[in-house]
């Protein structure tokens, strides 16, 4: 691998790292054809983890970090003084294929700064995906970040080659977009998402291949004044209306060469974590957006307890819950019990009566669950009424980052 290519890779990987999405899940299972390359397993594989604890699943790069847009939160905005580089289509294809052959990656996540025009940029992204599929018989995962301002027919074509498409919302409100991303058009982003949602649904009905792993988006947290509640409600609407597969919350991260309208500050990583937890409650725990809103304090999720525990502390009258009798929906509301633990409880109690020791074997969150449940040999002694319950269950205050 020559030095010029290595240098570009350094610049264009660095430029892409603020995009939170890196998952390689959701594509239908595929195997390479004879002479081809690549497979997908459905579940996604993380091939490495960086010291930030996040996984490397895909070769996540930008085609170029030149950009016409000037979005304040983005390190690649046109007024930023960062180093610039541009890959050719063939260079991205070579990197993807060679990295893939060595089992470094699951596939490609390709995004780009907007150069010349959104259509021109989108065409380049499509050419990479098309070359991989057609010339190399590549059947691994491809995620293309679509350019919302690009023409609809280009988005259609992207869906023929990509497993997942995404359009980043970036900021949850029109006002924030106006202030921080003057060239972006919030309505256009949502329209593009809506159209994409329709296409994916139709293609499924017609059993055609079109972005089979669905679409996702990213919202930046902490760059504007949006509350957690408004973020959660925006997410619920996106899941509902557009059938989004994932919404990524990306804590606004201090970036080199930051714009002056943004405060230089440590990223609210714990807030990002709580938003993901709240998101999971809606996707897997049958919580409604109102339930999640009910766990917030003037619109913000608590940082010292997770949202499920916060909800339980606010709704103590619904606890304790009997693990041997309660229905699944209510068991899912018990802090410390995950979906798998609940399913195991429901299966096991058909044949056995569960004691506290039995529950302990099914979950690693017994300490948090204890005050909220009843087992054959255990009942909490008015623990849910204790005023200091929150303090006893909250995570001890700790330094959130190393610095």
């Amino acid at each position: 691998m020559d030095d010029a290519l290595k240098k570009k890779l350094t610049v264009l990987a660095d430029a892409a790292k603020y995009d939170a999405s890196c998952a390689s899940s959701g594509a239908p299972k595929r195997k390479a054809e004879a002479g081809g390359l690549g497979s997908t397993t459905g579940a996604g594989i993380c091939h490495a983890y960086t010291p930030d604890g996040r996984c490397v699943s895909l070769l996540k790069i930008l085609l170029t970090n030149y950009c016409l847009f000037d979005c304040a939160y983005c390190v690649n905005r046109r007024s930023s003084n960062v180093r610039r580089a541009k890959f050719s289509v063939d260079e991205v294809v070579t990197l993807t294929v060679e990295f893939y052959k060595r089992n470094y990656i699951e596939g490609l996540f390709l995004s780009s700064g907007i150069i010349r025009s959104p259509d021109h940029t989108m065409e380049q992204l499509i050419r990479v995906a098309k070359t991989l599929r057609q010339r190399h018989g590549f059947r691994g995962y491809i995620h293309l970040k679509t350019i919302p301002e690009a023409s609809p027919w280009l988005i259609e074509q992207a869906g023929l080659y990509a497993d997942r498409l995404s359009i980043n919302l970036e900021l949850p409100t029109e006002a924030s977009l106006e202030r921080l991303a003057p060239e972006k058009d919030g309505a256009a982003i949502q329209t593009a998402m809506g159209q994409m949602g329709e296409r994916i649904l139709q293609a499924k009905e017609e059993k055609r291949r079109f972005a089979p792993a669905g679409q996702s988006t990213q919202v930046i947290v902490g760059a504007d004044a949006s509350t957690d509640e408004s973020l959660i409600r925006t997410s619920a609407r996106l899941y509902d209306h557009y059938g989004l597969k994932r919404i990524y919350y990306s804590a606004f991260s201090p970036i080199p060469d930051a714009a002056s309208i943004l405060p230089s500050q440590s990223p609210p990583l714990q807030r990002e974590h709580r938003l993901y937890q709240a998101d999971w409650l809606m996707r897997y725990y049958e919580f409604s957006p109102d339930d999640v809103a009910g766990a917030t304090e003037s619109g913000m999720l608590a940082l010292d307890v997770d949202p499920k525990l916060a909800w339980a502390l606010r709704n103590r009258d619904r606890f304790p819950v009997d693990v041997n009798r309660a229905d699944r929906e209510m068991l899912l509301r018990v802090p410390g019990l995950g979906v798998r633990a609940v399913d195991k409880i429901v299966a096991a109690r058909r044949h056995a009566t569960l004691r506290l020791d039995d529950v302990a074997r099914l979950t690693s969150g017994l300490k948090r669950a204890r005050p909220f449940l009843i087992a054959a040999d255990y009942a909490p002694t008015r623990l849910t009424d204790r005023l200091d319950l929150r303090a006893r269950l909250a995570e001890p205050p700790r330094q959130l980052s190393l610095f």
């Binding site: 390479a32 052959k101 259609e156 195991k344 099914l362």
Partner: protein
């Protein structure tokens, strides 16, 4: 109670365990009476009294599914634990595997989880290095991996499904797996030295790994939880970790401390204006885009564009090009098009002064023998092309748009309506032109002879009414 010793082959001897358990349990030999030994010479059942084969065991599916996973575990107790499980299930606890809270079941599930995790990590953390050329000039790669459990045979098919186009070998301390493009074979243990000690892409990969790390988010505990240190010595990129961690604090400090600099770039006003005006500004520009685009339906050799003058009074929208149209690249030149021409003449409409186009711009077909059989485009496919059709009609600006058949109706109105009910003047929503619906001429071609003449008369009559509508619109 007599003591029994059962010797199984080293590694995951599922077949040996199966034979043994099928004899032990029906023979009433309890787990306490058996000592399992693996890794010795395969001298299964030295004891004479176990030669009597018992009836096959009917195990619940959950139990049967658990056994192959647990057998791969490196714990020497695995066979004894499985024996206890089968013993209890055969003794009447049929649902035992569903009681995950039972201490034995819990332990076996943990073992299965550990094996599954090890498999997943092998799929993820194995790194190939280029090892010269294989047979017939194919590329050859090799990898060294140290799995925690006996999973090589289970893990290898993943790699042959993923990398069929080059030869590779995976060497482990317990055995090796080899792929030659056709078959997977297993061999004796390998040595780390048998794998090349470098690869041309490793430095680039390590650079990528380092660049994608965000120092402002350092979280070593999360990294170690997912990528335990025991794997690091076989991951080329892991060598970068200490340096990255050491430098992280300083890099973040610098980012935060550095005051925003004045941007060097001026606002690229002209580029921005060009970007804003990127929609096609003429029918030719639109057609150039359509011609250059991939077909959004399977089949098709070329896009078939609309034909006719801008400002035509009447525009006809058909379904999609057929075989002849696909060959010639022109709309309505096949049998249905010829029938349409005849009907237009009889209705007193000059074909040259109308605009003819299709809802879908590409021929969708299925090959049967030597023939290409037309296939109806799906609703989604029609929707894909709708954007183009709307722009096209906006440039042509006709007074009346005639939908020929249900697909055209769907494309123009977004609704699926039976043509028999919609036939006649119609509204396609908030449009600057009037709408009219009739059948597609190919429908007439499919009718039996007797019915065709009547239907044709009705069709010509429809065309006349559409022409009248256009005359009214012109007058208005």
């Amino acid at each position: 109670m007599r003591a029994h010793t059962i010797r199984l082959q080293a590694g995951a001897d599922l077949a040996g365990f199966r034979v043994a358990i099928r004899r032990l349990v029906p023979a009433g030999i309890p787990p306490e009476a058996v000592t399992w030994i693996d890794g010795e010479a395969a001298s299964l059942f030295a004891e004479a009294e176990l030669t009597e084969p018992g009836p096959a065991l009917a195990l619940p599916r959950a139990v049967a599914a658990l056994i192959p996973s647990v057998v791969m575990h490196r714990d020497p107790e695995r066979y004894a634990l499985l024996h206890r499980l089968v013993w209890r299930v055969a003794g009447g606890e049929r649902h035992l595997a569903e009681v995950a809270s039972d201490p034995l079941v819990h332990r076996l599930y943990l073992m299965r989880k550990s094996v599954a995790r090890d498999l997943h990590k092998m799929h993820a953390f194995l790194r190939f290095r280029r090892a010269g050329a294989g047979a017939g000039g194919r590329e050859r790669f090799a990898a060294w991996f140290e799995p925690e459990h006996h999973i090589l045979a289970e893990a290898a098919p993943f790699f042959s499904a993923r990398f069929p186009s080059f030869d590779w070998s995976i060497l482990t301390p317990d055995g090796s797996a080899h792929w030659d493009g056709r078959a997977l074979t297993f061999g004796p243990p390998g040595r780390r030295e048998d794998v090349p000690d470098a690869d041309a892409f490793e430095a680039g990969w390590t650079d990528y790994y380092s660049s994608t790390f965000n120092p402002a988010r350092t979280n070593l505990a999360a990294m170690r939880a997912e990528m335990p240190k025991k794997y690091w010595h076989n991951l080329p990129e892991a060598a970068a970790i200490p340096g990255l961690v050491r430098e992280a604090g300083r890099r973040v400090g610098e980012m935060i401390a550095r005051a925003p600099e004045a941007p060097m770039k001026r606002v690229p006003a002209r580029a921005l204006a060009a970007m804003a005006a990127q929609e096609p500004d003429s029918l030719e520009a639109l057609n150039a885009i359509i011609r250059a685009s991939e077909p959004l339906v399977p089949g098709a050799t070329q896009a078939v564009l609309g034909e006719g003058p801008l400002g035509a009074d009447i525009a006809f929208v058909g379904e999609q090009p057929g075989d002849q149209e696909d060959v010639h690249g022109r709309p309505f030149v096949g049998p249905a098009g010829q029938l349409l021409s005849r009907a237009l003449r009889e209705a007193g409409i000059d074909r040259e002064r109308t605009y003819l186009t299709n809802a879908v711009k590409h021929f969708k077909f299925e090959v049967r023998g030597k023939r290409r059989i037309h296939q109806k485009p799906g609703a989604g496919e029609v929707a894909h092309y709708r954007w183009w059709l709307e722009r096209e009609l906006a440039f042509v600006a006709p007074r009346v748009v005639v939908a020929l058949g249900a697909t055209a109706m769907l494309a123009l109105s977004g609704r699926q309506v039976p043509i028999t009910r919609a036939r006649g003047p119609a509204s396609f929503g908030d449009k600057p032109y009037r709408g009219f619906v009739t059948v597609h001429p190919s429908y007439l071609l499919r009718l039996p002879d007797g019915a065709r003449e009547d239907a044709y008369v009705g069709f010509v009559d429809d065309l006349r009414r559409a022409a009248t509508l256009a005359a009214e619109a012109r007058a208005a």
